[in-house]
Every structure is written in structure tokens, then in C-alpha cells.
């Protein structure tokens, strides 16, 4: 332990604590995630798995401790939120795709508007990612399962250093 720089951590939590009212959800979480490492969090429902993940891109604020994502310390300021969110991808439990946009717009929105990438590059990359989830925009028939496939692709769109 200790020598974090050498291990090249992309997510590092030290003594993270969070309460919902009086309910102490996250208790002294200390955890490091190295580049390329995959991690599975498991536990009964209500044990705080989602809360922990939502902390990583600032959808939930924590109350005590320290959370560092890449070079950025997530301290709740708008600047830190913006930097972290443009680097961390997230696939939601119920996907939350944008129903009023096309699949392609779902995938390019973040790249174009949050990171200011040129549109043609974002579209190129969206096509690569769709390839990876075996979805072609030429498909006219989209079943219930295929409708969800863009979700992991959107989650991957920020050149993921960390996939939550």
C-alpha cells in the first residue's frame, strides 16, 4: 500500500463516509482501482453499491473522506465535477437513454457538448462503439434487448480511463 503513484491508481477513495439523514450508508470506504483493473462490487440491495458508484462521478456528494479520480480531486466544485464527468463513463441500472434523440445523438451528445469534440470525430467514434455492441444503425428492427445496447456504448464514449 501507500505507494499510490507507482501503482497508477485511476480511482482512489480514502475513508469515504456518507449518510442519508441518520442512515450511515458508506462507512470508511478505502479503495483503489488501478488502470485496466476490473472490479465487481456485490452486496445485498440497499447496501450502498449504487451510492458508491454514483459518488465516483459526483451524482452523489459524500460527507467525509477523500475521493480522487485520475489527477482530479472530487471536492464538489463545478470545475472538478466537469473534469471528472468528461472522463468517467457510466451505464445506468435502467439505462436512461434519451428517448427523444436518435441512437447516434445519444452517443455523440456528451462528446460534442461536454468535451467540445468536432462532430465528425464523435460520430466516427460512436460507430466504432456500436460495432463493439454489435449494433448497426442500418438495423430497422430494434428489439427490447437491442434498445439497451447503446447504453454501454454511451457509457464508454468518454475515452474511458475508468469504467464505473
Amino acid at each position: 500500500m501507500g505507494d499510490t503513484a507507482a501503482r497508477d491508481l485511476v480511482v482512489e477513495m480514502v475513508g469515504l463516509n456518507k449518510w442519508y439523514g441518520q442512515h450511515h450508508v458508506l462507512r470508511d470506504i478505502t479503495l483503489g482501482l488501478a488502470k485496466g483493473e476490473k472490479m465487481v462490487l456485490c452486496g445485498p440491495s440497499g447496501s450502498g453499491k449504487s451510492t458508491l458508484i454514483r459518488c465516483v462521478n459526483g451524482l452523489e456528494a459524500y460527507h467525509e473522506g477523500d475521493l480522487q479520480v485520475g489527477p482530479t480531486r472530487l471536492d464538489g466544485t463545478q470545475a472538478s465535477l466537469a473534469t471528472v464527468r468528461s472522463r468517467v463513463g457510466m451505464v445506468f441500472q435502467n439505462f436512461n437513454l434519451f428517448p427523444h434523440l436518435t441512437v447516434l445523438q445519444n452517443l455523440t451528445l456528451g462528446a460534442v457538448y461536454a468535451r467540445g469534440e468536432p462532430e465528425h470525430r464523435a460520430i466516427e467514434r460512436a460507430h466504432e462503439l456500436l460495432e463493439r455492441v454489435r449494433l448497426s444503425l442500418a438495423d430497422r428492427q430494434v428489439s427490447g434487448a437491442t434498445v439497451r445496447r447503446p447504453a454501454p456504448a454511451r457509457g464508454d464514449c468518454p475515452r474511458a480511463d475508468a469504467g464505473a
Binding site: 445506468f92 436512461n96 428517448p99 451528445l109 454511451r154
Partner: protein, 373 residues
């Protein structure tokens, strides 16, 4: 051929036509007008009453009516039916108010452009942005054309504006100013910042608690008494601001309903992509929220059109005000019924057209309302 055979599917029966006639006027009459003896008798009695009423209306409004009265209202005085000659005589005043007679071609142009763009923009031939930009041009163009003073057009003060062009301009300003204000009030009411939230709640609840007429009287007649003379603002503009605020307070609550209908996950997903607050609102939340509330918004928009008639009480010559003025002519004062029927018909046609416009936008919105699984 033992046990399982009893579970075999029966042979298919060929399709055949139903013996009960389900279509056509005869079938409709049998099932809707004469299903039982009592209903049949009621149908006959009500039918007779409607026929008598229709006959009277037809006789008064068409058969015995006077359409043209060359020397004053003389021909009308001896007639039994309606005196439509009053419309033939006064339509220029009703439609264009006190606007200078030789400049009324501007009013004709404005009405024509509004109706034309209304038809074009009700379809989905053009993108939503193009349609809105078109309405902006139509609106600004209308005001420039009414006011004059540019391109060699004779300048005409707002006190002379009147009739249908004025009604359109009041209505357009109410919606163009009121909708953005409504969206801001609705967003502000859901804000995390207590001062912003309090201001928005106070504005919405305060304005909703005042009758429109009281608000307009205050804006048009009372406010100038308190303002220093160098701050004098045109009466039309003061009343228009009252209209905008009133419309916005009601529409804000409609928009808030739409905002609440959008699942929280939508905003969170947009946050996770790194989009800022206003970008999330513009790209994710508002497009979906506004699409949901189009039917309720058109309720408010149609009401805003009818509320323009309040301006006639303030001494402005919108269609109703101009009609009232036109019918004060002692020669024609007896034919107010015909004059007002014409105005009712005019409002009815315009408001029905707006209903159709709303229905058309709703259809176009289906794609925006499609929910992911």
C-alpha cells in the same frame, strides 16, 4: 389414434361476413337513434325541435336577409331577416379599426402573411427551428409594417392601430414574450436556490391571484399616474406587458407539470455525460417536457387569443373594440346582432384553426414522446 387425438386443433372455419350490418347510415340510425322504442320517440321529438329551430335560423339569416343596402340602412328597416348589409358597410372598420383608410393594404398584407405562415408552419415540412424563426420574422415584420417610418412608409402611431392586425400583434407578443418567461418561471420554481425559487413562486401565485382585467387596468390606466412623465411608455406596450405576465404565470404551471413528468434519470444521465445545467435543460429536459405539455399549452394559447378582446375595454381598437365603434353609427346602431355574430364567427374560425394547429404539432411531437423501454 388414441388419447392425444382429442387435443388436436379443430379444423379452421372459413371467414364469413357478419349477419349484423355494422356500417352504413342505416346501421348507424338503428344502433344510435332508434335502439329502443323510448329512444326512438325521443329522437323524433328532438329531431322535430331541431328542424324547426334550423328553419327559423335559415329564414332569418339567409332567406329573408338583406345582403346589400345601397342607400344607408333603408332596405334593412323593412326586411324581416338579418341585415348583413351592415357587414358590407362596416367590414373595413371591423377588420382594420381606425387605421388610415388609404394605408389599410398594410393590414391586409399582415393578415395574409399570418394566415399563410400559419398553414405552412402547421405541417412538418420545415424544422421546428425554421418554423419558429419564421414566426419571429412574421411578427417583427408585422410591427414594422404597422408602425411604418421606414422604407418610405408613412409612420402611424399606435393609437391608430386597430382591427385584426392589432389583435394578431397583441396575441403574438403575448405568446412570444410569455412562453420564454413561463419556461424561466417554471425552471426557477424548481431551483435549488431559495431566493430564485421564492421570487418565482411569488410571481406565479401573485399574478394568478389577480383578475386579468384588474391587471390590465392597472398597467394601462393607473401605472402612468405613479411614473414620472419622462418615463412614459406607450399604453399599448404597458397593457401588452400585463398580458405577457398573466400568460406566463399560467403557462409556467403547465410547463412545471411537464418538467415533473420527466424521469429524474434523464437529467442524471445528462449530468453523467458532463453536460452543464443550461445545456441539460436545453437538450434533454425541456424538449421532452414541452412536447408533453403541448395540448395544455395550446389551451393557454387559445385563451390568450380570446383575452385580446380585453383591450377593447381599455379603449384600444382590437377587432371587438373596432366593432363596438363601428356599430355606434346611428344609421346602423340597430344591427348590432349581425355585427357581433360576424365577430363571433371570426373568432370561432381563428380559434378552431389554432386547435387544429395544436393537434398538428402534437402529431409531429410523437417522435419526441417515444419512451425507451
Amino acid at each position: 389414434m388414441s388419447g392425444p387425438a382429442s387435443f388436436a386443433l379443430p379444423t379452421h372455419s372459413p371467414a364469413r361476413a357478419s349477419r349484423i350490418e355494422v356500417r352504413g347510415p342505416l346501421a348507424f340510425a338503428r344502433s344510435h337513434l332508434f335502439p329502443t322504442r323510448t329512444t326512438g320517440i325521443a329522437t323524433l321529438i328532438l329531431g322535430a325541435m331541431v328542424a324547426v329551430a334550423l328553419w327559423h335560423i335559415l329564414r332569418w339569416s339567409i332567406i329573408d336577409a338583406v345582403w346589400y343596402s345601397p342607400d344607408g340602412s333603408a332596405a334593412c328597416r323593412t326586411a324581416m331577416g338579418a341585415c348583413w348589409a351592415v357587414i358590407a358597410e362596416k367590414y373595413r372598420v371591423i377588420l382594420f379599426g381606425t387605421y388610415p383608410y388609404d394605408q389599410q393594404w398594410r393590414g391586409v398584407a399582415i393578415v395574409a402573411v399570418w394566415l399563410g405562415w400559419g398553414v405552412v408552419s402547421a405541417t412538418n415540412w420545415l424544422a421546428v427551428g425554421t418554423r419558429l424563426a419564421g414566426w419571429t420574422i412574421v411578427y417583427v415584420g408585422s410591427i414594422v409594417l404597422l408602425a411604418g417610418g421606414v422604407l418610405g412608409l408613412e409612420p402611424i402611431g399606435t393609437d391608430l392601430w386597430g382591427g385584426l392586425p392589432l389583435t394578431f400583434v397583441i396575441f403574438g407578443g403575448t405568446v412570444a414574450g410569455g412562453l420564454p418567461l413561463a419556461v424561466l418561471l417554471a425552471i426557477g420554481r424548481r431551483s435549488q436556490l431559495p431566493v430564485v425559487r421564492l421570487l418565482c413562486v411569488a410571481t406565479i401565485e401573485g399574478v394568478r391571484g389577480i383578475p386579468l382585467l384588474a391587471l390590465l387596468f392597472f398597467a394601462a390606466l393607473i401605472l402612468p399616474l405613479f411614473l414620472p412623465p419622462e418615463l412614459s411608455v406607450d399604453k399599448l406596450i404597458r397593457a401588452e406587458i400585463g398580458m405577457i405576465v398573466f400568460f406566463a404565470a399560467y403557462a409556467a404551471e403547465v410547463v412545471r407539470g411537464g418538467l415533473q413528468a420527466i424521469p429524474e434519470g434523464q437529467d442524471e444521465a445528462a449530468q453523467a455525460l458532463g453536460l452543464g445545467y443550461w445545456l441539460r435543460m436545453r437538450k434533454i429536459v425541456l424538449p421532452q417536457a414541452l412536447a408533453i405539455v403541448v395540448p395544455a399549452l395550446f389551451n393557454d394559447i387559445i385563451r390568450a387569443f380570446k383575452n385580446t378582446t380585453f383591450f377593447s375595454i381599455l379603449g384600444l381598437f382590437d377587432v371587438l373594440g373596432a366593432t363596438k365603434a363601428a356599430l355606434q353609427d346611428p344609421e346602423w346602431v340597430r344591427y348590432g346582432t349581425e355585427g357581433y355574430l360576424f365577430v363571433f364567427l371570426l373568432y370561432f374560425l381563428i380559434c378552431s384553426a389554432m386547435s387544429r394547429y395544436g393537434a398538428s404539432i402534437e402529431q409531429d411531437n410523437q417522435s419526441r414522446l417515444r419512451r425507451a423501454v
